[in-house]
């Protein structure tokens, strides 16, 4: 872990509130939902109660927009506690309904409604710029929003100071509590200025949103795209309305389209948000679908590509932990320090045996911590799998080469001992035997009978020693095997076996270790058949198919041989020799029906 603790941030899960936070969020969401329900109900009931019911379609669009924002806001709040997005959405819904306060008698409700009726548009812009984190991304956006809110407040308050509903032709309207003075000329002048400024502000906000989009990374655009597109219908509605209010006189049908139907465009936004949620679900499903692709041996870079696709960040970098350099390396093996940079965050992928890798990824993915976690888990599985496979492969390769070296070393040792015996002890004993023979001849028939008996005895013992030493040397390594090969050596083995042995073997030559492994395999099997199996005949069959030699030794003895039983150590030793050469051994030994051992050896 050394060297990584400082550079790598923890998995950014602190965005997800704890259990207590969740409970608070749930309570808040309940309150908002209940208030929203009441507000919507009143919005529907009020016109009817005042005896001026709206057309059902108009009513549905009007209340539906509020319900959509409040409802989606509640969903967003529950899904991302601590993220202001949900609150902003709910606020838009409530502000949309502020105009309905007109239906409530009294000057206060009227004044509030008249002052704040158009504030929802400002919050809408706030939402467009703050999505998805709920925070405005930069100082510029913050200044724009502060300016916008200030403009809305000042503009509307100023408007209220000079706005007299009775003078504007609404005889039944309550009084404006903020009215200071009404002068038609002044009001017209203020209204003209305000109309141009409002239109300019709306266009400017549109430009700010486009700029906001333009400056995002690809991964971020993927996330905010629906929101930005959905801002289109909202802006269109606001611009149209502004134009209709101040610059043209509409027919009743045109007015109905602008004021009653076009707000439906505002409802696009919450719908798009819901689609975004669905899209996130699809991303989760994609994480799952990636797993089978990343199982088994995967090409280097495949995991990175999968992560980049899942997290919609083509610039995503994956740095692997290298135990050799005790640090992170990129795909090409070059050391890299995982450091967060502006807009990019470091997400570690830890395995059970320590760090595996880190992702350098667009910080927008922090908005979907669960997706990041799922993708991380997927990558972890794939990388862990990859690492384990590589480890097993390298261990296997190492083991193979080690055993191969051991087999060869054993083979060399046997040949050396045999040669040492041949050149040393055997020659000396033969020289001794020769000298003794001459001594016996010189002693002749006339010698002391006791001396002759001693000499004869010594000669017999010496001959015995020579014979035993010869058999010992042969058992360690039969010279015939080196000189004439497996078939000849097996035939010679059969000639001195204590029971009939039938040999069938090809006369071709094979690598030393293969020949000697096959030879000692047969030798041990024949010894077992004679010693333990009470067999009357042994059949040995050596065949070669492709790169594999099959050595089959079968007897007609009592069977019941089992490498797993204590008496089966001979079989275990045979299996070890065969396996050391990369081969396999099978034992078939049903009780009473003989024993067959088969070794399959790679001989190419």
């Amino acid at each position: 872990m050394s060297g990584m603790g400082t550079a790598v941030a923890p998995f950014p899960l602190d965005q997800v509130a704890g259990r207590e936070g969740r409970r608070g969020t749930a309570a808040l969401a309940s309150v908002i939902a209940a208030a929203g329900g009441v507000a919507c109900a009143l919005s529907i009931a009020a016109p009817a109660l005042r005896g001026l019911p709206l057309h059902p379609l108009d009513q549905a669009i009007h209340t539906g927009v509020a319900a959509a924002y409040i409802g989606t806001g509640v969903v967003a709040l529950l899904r991302r506690p601590g993220n202001a997005t949900g609150l902003l959405m709910a606020a838009i819904g409530f502000l949309w309904l502020v105009g309905d306060l007109y239906w409530i008698p009294g000057a206060l409700a009227f004044t509030i409604a008249a002052t704040f009726a158009l504030f929802y548009g400002t919050v809408l812009a706030h939402l467009a710029l703050a999505f998805p984190s709920g925070r405005l991304p930069g100082g510029f956006e913050r200044r724009v929003m502060v300016g916008l809110y200030a403009w809305m407040l000042v503009n509307n308050l100023v408007r209220m100071l000079f706005f007299d509903p009775h003078a504007e032709g609404c005889a039944g309207c309550p009084a404006n509590l903020l009215l200071v003075v009404h002068d038609p000329g002044l009001e017209r002048w203020r209204n003209d200025v305000s109309s141009y400024l409002d239109t300019a502000v709306i266009v400017a906000v549109g430009a700010v949103i486009v700029r906001h989009w333009w400056r995002r990374t690809r991964a971020a655009r993927y996330v905010i795209a629906p929101v930005v597109w959905a801002a289109g219908p909202a802006l269109a509605y606001l611009v149209t309305r502004e134009v209709a209010d101040d610059f043209v006189t509409l027919s009743p049908a045109g007015a109905r389209i602008v004021y009653e139907f076009m707000p439906a465009g505002l409802a696009v936004w919450p719908l798009v948000f819901l689609v975004g949620l669905l899209r996130t679900r699809l991303d989760y499903a994609r994480v799952g679908a990636l797993l089978p692709q990343l199982a088994g041996q995967v090409a280097p870079g495949r995991v990175r590509d999968a992560l980049a696709a899942t997290l919609h960040d083509p610039q995503l970098e994956l740095l692997y932990w290298s135990p050799i350099t005790d640090g992170y390396v990129d795909l090409d093996g070059h050391p890299r320090e995982p450091v967060a940079s502006p807009g990019r965050t470091v997400a570690p992928i830890g395995g059970e045996g320590g760090p595996l890798a880190v992702m350098l990824v667009d910080e927008i993915v922090l908005q979907e911590p669960a997706l990041l976690q799922a993708a991380g888990a997927m990558a972890r599985l794939a990388l862990e799998n990859e690492r384990l496979q590589a480890e097993v492969r390298s261990q296997l390769v190492q083991l193979r080469s080690t055993t191969a070296r051991l087999v060869e070393a054993g083979q060399d040792a046997r040949q050396r001992i045999e040669r040492d015996l041949h050149d040393g002890a055997q020659q000396r004993l033969l020289a001794l035997s020769m000298t003794l023979g001459q001594a016996r001849a010189r002693a002749g028939d006339g010698a002391d009978p006791r001396l002759r008996a001693f000499l004869d005895h010594a000669a017999d013992d010496l001959q015995q020693a020579i014979t035993e030493l010869r058999e010992l040397a042969r058992g360690i390594h039969p010279m015939l095997l080196t000189q004439e090969g497996l078939a000849s050596a097996l035939k010679a083995l059969a000639e001195r076996a204590p029971l009939p042995v039938e040999i069938s073997a090809p006369s071709q030559r094979f690598p030393d270790t293969v020949e000697s492994t096959a030879y000692f395999f047969v030798s041990e099997a024949v010894t077992n058949a004679a010693r333990h199996a009470a067999a009357s005949v042994v059949r040995v069959e050596v065949t070669v198919a492709g790169d594999e030699m099959s050595v089959r030794v079968s007897d007609d003895g009592v069977g019941g041989a089992n490498p797993a039983t204590p008496g089966g150590s001979g079989l275990l030793g045979m299996r070890d020799r065969v396996v050391a050469l990369g081969g396999r051994m099978t034992v078939t030994s049903p009780t009473g029906r003989g024993t067959t051992v088969v070794a399959r050896l790679p001989c190419g």
Partner: protein, 214 residues
Amino acid sequence: MRVILAEDSVLLREGLARLLGDADIEVTHAVGDADTLLAAVDTQPPDVVVTDIRMPPTFTDEGLTAALTIRARHPTVAVLVLSQYLEAAYAERLLRHSATGAGYLLKDRVNDVTALCDAIARVARGESVVDPEVIRTLVGRPRLDNPLDRLTDREREVLALMAEGRSNHGIGDRLFLSAKTVEGHVGSIMTKLQIADSREENRRVLAVIRYLRS
């Protein structure tokens, strides 16, 4: 009788040279490797070459190979291979390439100057010689439905002596039998064992050994 001796162990080479010299056999050359042996035989062909199997440079079977080369190059020079290996395979290989005037004797015989000189004399006469120990192993090996069981004890003795390369006359001498009687035994053996190969004395050795090894 002139002999060239090839043996890489100095101890044995000098001992053997002395032993043969004491037995009135003239050792014209005593060498330590196969190449020197071949050169010595080429310059001064002896009556008999007595050679070890395993010699420099590869320490495998150059003595045996050299013996076969000598038999091919100098048909008048007999060879006696002195071997440390109780292997019928080597004896068969020698006799397969040289049916006459060749012998395979275990080094164990260096303790018996009479047996050694007898073997040298026999190969010099053009007979074949195979060490009795090698034959005893072959005759005594266990066989499935052993066909040798069909032979009488005497016939088995005759079979073994045939395999050692003895002539009918030599077999008769060893068993105190007339040549005619030996001939009868030989015919009976060949019939019982269905050895179809040549009945000619110096050709039958290989046939009998092949039979015993099969």
